[in-house]
């Protein structure tokens, strides 16, 4: 993990809002992750105590269910490796 930020304000635009998935509620935590393969990506983190997050910490990817209904919809998240 290169950096993280706990987000307190969020106002999704109608175009981005997807009725098939659960609304994103604040606060949530975003992280910048440098992948082992080189590229850096940003996405949400789960199961992370943001107070304990430190740049340089190793993270692992995780697929998380985000669908409202029985239909299976998953999205990529990151969580501390240990």
């Amino acid at each position: 993990m290169i950096a993280s930020a706990k987000v307190h304000l969020h106002n999704p635009t109608a175009s981005v809002a997807n009725t098939d998935v659960i609304d994103r509620e604040t606060p949530f935590t975003i992280g910048s992750m440098k992948l082992d393969d080189g590229p850096t990506i940003r996405t949400l983190m789960v199961d992370a105590d943001e107070r304990a997050l430190k740049p340089g910490q190793r993270m692992v990817s995780k697929l998380v269910p985000i669908g409202r209904s029985a239909q299976t919809i998953v999205d990529l998240r990151f969580t501390p490796a240990s």
Partner: protein, 381 residues
Amino acid sequence: MATFLKDLRDIYVVGAGWHRYQPLSETPYVALGLKAIRQSLADAAIAWPDVESSYIGTGRLGMAAGRAMLKHLGATGRPLVHIENASASGSAAFRHACIEVAAGIADVSLAIGVDKPAAVQRAYTKTGIDNLAEDAIVPFTHFALLTDEYAHEHGVNPEDIALVAVKNHRNGSLNPNAHRQQARTIAEILGGKPVSGTLTTLQCCPVGEGAAAVIIASGDAIKRLGIDAGRAIHITASAASSERAGLQSAADAAITKDTIADALRQAGLKPQNVDVLEVHDAFTVEELQYIEAMGFCEPGQAIHLLKEGAFNIGGQMAVSPSGGLIAMGHPLGPTGVGQIAELTMQLRGEAGVRQHKSAKIGLAHMVGTGAVCYAHVLQKP
């Protein structure tokens, strides 16, 4: 072989005007823009028919805002064009007005930025290509992440980065055209509403309405129209760029480094020659990153210079004496034009209580989502 402004005929800013940047009101954009234009014409002591072309920087007004505004000055039949380039819309309008006058196509051009808040969907949400968590990473979170990264990389206390806002709110309190005109303590800034990461509302720019206008003229026009040459400010460089592949660091800082280096090279100057910098400080960490990217100091040193007062009005280099985007405000279209107007006042010695003593060289810098970057150098002749 590329041609630069310095290879063309000399051009000058001869007039500047504003409508105060402010929260959304019922004032129509036409009234906002006309106030700034009329002030700039009066400042230059020229008449509207003397203006041969108009460049209108705006991001949120909708299609063809210009003629509905300019016709109130008189339908002169002269060309006008609208330029949208995200946060840098006004900077782009200024650059293209400069190019037209420098090239000799017009003798006198107007660059006007005018905007009012309105919901405008960013095009990258309509590309048909999904991005990972894109809706959750709006600009303030992008810069909250960069704040965390900067603090970790340089061993800086994130709360110290908020000192940028203390300086800029103080400058804004001296500016009657600023959106925010109240000096703030570090406790007030840190105690404000949390936004993202360590950023609080007072560390983020307010996006309201307003207008800024400047008149660009050739030396020939200055003589022909009897403009006061002693108040004309020489535009010695214009540089622009966009994000390229392969960057190893945040795009905003990387293209800032390249673009400002280009502008300073065109003007034959070093970063340390700049007396006044109007910088794209939409979020506190940006000011530090861009001062370092322009080469004024080594990476990680800007925070120490800030604490020493180096970037205060009266310091080594006055940074955002207008209040910057954090206090002056960021109404989008007007922002880049307003920077040029502030530098013009500073280099003339007409900035009043915000005056940076003996200012001779000014640099204006803007980035815009995309990402794009602009840099302009203005000099007292």
